[in-house]
């Protein structure tokens, strides 16, 4: 064929092994490319993207206050991120962390409002357990049809988000509304005993310890326990898990319960440590960010902690640019863009880019 020497054919060639550096570079480069991509939209409004990103960085990491706020925001992200990562490990697409967070907040609030006189060493762990249970149940609900009827959990978990948020709205606009709250959708404030202690003199509360502990426990479970092994096998191949005698159905239920429970705890830490009451809109989408965090972190518990910190910074940075005319939605754009670059970049983990001329011999 004449003239074909000028045609190049780009091909993806399967790799036999993946160099370590690629596993690290792919998420990193995706973040950078995501920033560049959204930078174009920012430039479209006439502002300099570098200036805006600078403002965000300043706001998040440039001062002691900023840093502490970043840590504060990272606490619910760590917890929901861990929950989502656990479920994803079993190829259970838990998109319902947001709703599970709200239901966890509901459970903790129920205890706090009904037993305000319990001493803190009883009330706080109690609230933790309640939130784990209510969040866990919210994760268990879609798990049951998934386990027994193979109903797609992506849709059911997501739809339950809306239901969970509406349930909390119902409570704070209705039966649990604070009569002294000037008709705002908030409950009465929690008693002293129901509030998580502060670390230092910032807003950073003991929820941080809970988050880090959860990461440690999850790491140990996944790496060293039999259950963790079963999760890894089940996530890779349900057929192999069944073949090996593992109780695949029990694991689906258990993992979704724990996943929802972790997100539920995130809800508890928010109402107990930050808002100190239940109110409308306690989460600016932590549950959705958790998905991106889990994916970027490649489902590794330590990476989840690290990436949660970064995303906390992203949120705080987002607040600092609101006065420059960029709504909170900008942060969601950035997160979404980073995720689809990460997702796209993953092909480089399994395949290598090659090119050669089309037609003719080499």
């Amino acid at each position: 064929m004449m003239g074909c020497e000028w045609m190049w054919k780009i091909n993806f060639e399967k790799r036999s092994t993946t160099p370590r550096i690629v596993l690290f570079l792919v998420p990193l480069l995706s973040i950078i490319v995501g920033l560049v991509f959204v930078g174009f939209f920012i430039a479209g409004t006439g502002k300099s993207p570098l200036y805006i990103y600078g403002l965000m960085f300043e706001g998040a990491f440039g001062s002691a206050y900023g840093l502490s706020e970043t840590v504060v925001k990272s606490i619910p992200l760590i917890l929901t991120g861990l929950g989502v990562a656990l479920a994803f490990r079993m190829q259970l697409w838990n998109i319902g962390a947001e709703g599970q967070l709200y239901m966890g907040a509901f459970g903790a609030t129920w205890l706090a409002l009904n037993f305000p006189m319990w001493p803190a060493y009883l009330l706080l762990p109690g609230m933790l357990i309640m939130s784990f249970i209510t969040g866990g149940i919210w994760g268990l609900l879609p798990a049951i049809p998934r386990a027994y009827f193979k109903v797609n959990e992506t849709i059911t978990t997501l739809l339950l988000n809306y239901v969970g948020i509406l349930w909390v709205d119902y409570l704070v606009y209705g039966p649990w509304r604070d009569p002294k709250g000037f008709n705002f959708p908030i409950t009465a404030p929690f008693s002293e005993n129901a509030i998580l202690p502060i670390l230092g003199d910032s807003r950073i509360h003991a929820g941080l310890i809970v988050g880090i502990l959860a990461a440690v426990v999850l790491y140990i479970i996944l790496k060293y326990t039999k259950w963790g092994f079963e999760i890894r096998v089940s996530g890779e191949s349900g057929a192999a898990a069944h073949y090996a005698g593992m109780n695949y159905i029990r694991n689906i239920l258990l993992v979704m319960f724990v996943s929802g429970g972790l997100a539920g705890i995130a809800g508890m830490t928010e109402v107990s440590g930050i808002t100190q009451r239940l109110q409308h809109g306690i989460s600016p989408g932590y549950g959705y960010s958790a998905i991106i965090i889990a994916w970027l972190a490649r489902l590794n518990p330590w990476a989840v902690v690290l990436v949660s910190f970064l995303f906390g910074g992203l949120l705080v940075g987002g607040y600092s640019i609101q006065t420059s005319g960029f709504p909170a939605a900008t942060v969601a754009m950035l997160q979404g863009a980073i995720l689809f670059f990460v997702v796209g970049g993953e092909i480089f983990v399994g395949y290598r880019l090659t090119w050669r001329s089309k037609g003719g011999n080499q």
Binding site: F12, Y170, I292, G336, A337
Partner: protein
């Protein structure tokens, strides 16, 4: 009184169901070709805000509509590139686009919230047909986009089940390797179906902002994109069943309004929960049924195709 109440329910159900219908038709095309598109919600929102924005600028709702279709298609192009060429995980790619689309629509629409719009799609009764008792007011006294929806269902069904193109689409979704061996361009078909799906999603979103509401509010789709995805499953990937399903959801959606008229008061929050809960319940029931009847999703749904995979 009976007739007017029933036809009112029917009619409002059709209107409320139209955005879901468009999105569902798009998703059917995409999934029949084997690609799962979970970015529908984001694409609808981007369509809604783009349609509103351009209509504001040009005072022409048709231009706005075209812009919305284009925006949805462009977003779907990203999804197609990621999942078909780069063989990325289809679930997460779709999610990424929903998150991005939600953010983008909020970003673009910040100055448009609550602004009134003059150039909208108004009701156009079809002469003759709209006079038929019962059926007329239910089906034929709506705006042009609703009629477009009817046509869309028919076209979609016809293409899928009566043309060679439809045969190819279904082959690609069921067994891409067989389609490839038959000389069908698997990549091209998948790209086209995904982009068309996004365009239809954009159309559905624009319906909300240009006809249904009509206005722009952040997150105004409120999960309709997800309901559309669920709808495709219990319509077993069939356009005519999707039409029925979308109408059913339309009715549930506006149930609260009708109940109020009848003097029945239920907390608005529970009414709002109803569409989501019902979707979940129906999904479970239908999944149990299909398991028994061995009707399955397109065989290769969600799996990237690679010719040289050993």
């Amino acid at each position: 009184m009976e007739q007017s109440l029933l036809t009112a329910i029917f009619a409002t159900g059709i209107i409320a169901g139209t955005p879901i219908l468009f999105a569902a038709l798009g998703e059917i095309l995409s999934e029949q070709a084997g690609v799962l598109n979970l970015g529908v919600e984001g694409m609808m929102l981007v369509g809604a805000v783009t349609g509103f924005m351009i209509t504001m600028e040009t005072n022409n709702q048709w231009l706005g509509l075209l812009a919305a279709i284009g925006a949805g298609g462009l977003m779907a192009l990203i999804h197609a590139f990621l999942t078909i060429t780069l063989r990325a995980n289809q679930v997460v790619s779709g999610l990424a686009l929903t998150i991005f689309g939600t953010g983008l629509s909020g970003y673009l629409g910040q100055t448009l919230i609550g602004k009134p719009l003059q150039a909208t799609f108004k009701a156009v009764p079809i002469p003759g047909l709209s006079q038929i008792p019962w059926v007329g007011p239910s089906l034929f006294q709506h705006d042009l986009l609703v009629y477009l929806g009817y046509i869309g269902v028919a076209v979609c069904w016809f293409v899928l089940y009566r043309t060679k193109a439809g045969l190819k689409i279904r082959a690609v979704g069921e067994n891409p390797s067989a389609a490839d061996a038959a000389g069908v361009n698997v990549f091209a078909i998948r790209y086209v179906c995904v982009v068309l799906g996004g365009m239809l999603a954009g159309l559905g979103g624009a319906y909300l902002s240009l006809a249904y509401a009509p206005s722009w509010l952040e997150n105004m789709t409120a999960g309709r994109g997800w309901i559309a995805v669920a709808l495709v499953i219990f319509a077993t990937w069939n356009p005519t069943k999707a039409f029925l399903g979308s109408w059913l959801f339309g009715v549930v959606d506006i149930l609260g309004f009708h109940l109020q008229n009848l003097g029945i008061t239920v907390s608005s929050f529970f009414l709002k929960m109803l569409p989501y809960v019902i979707t979940i319940v129906v999904l479970i029931i239908v999944s149990r049924e299909t398991k028994k009847r061995h009707v399955a999703s397109p065989g290769a749904l969600g799996i990237p195709y690679n010719r040289e995979e050993r």
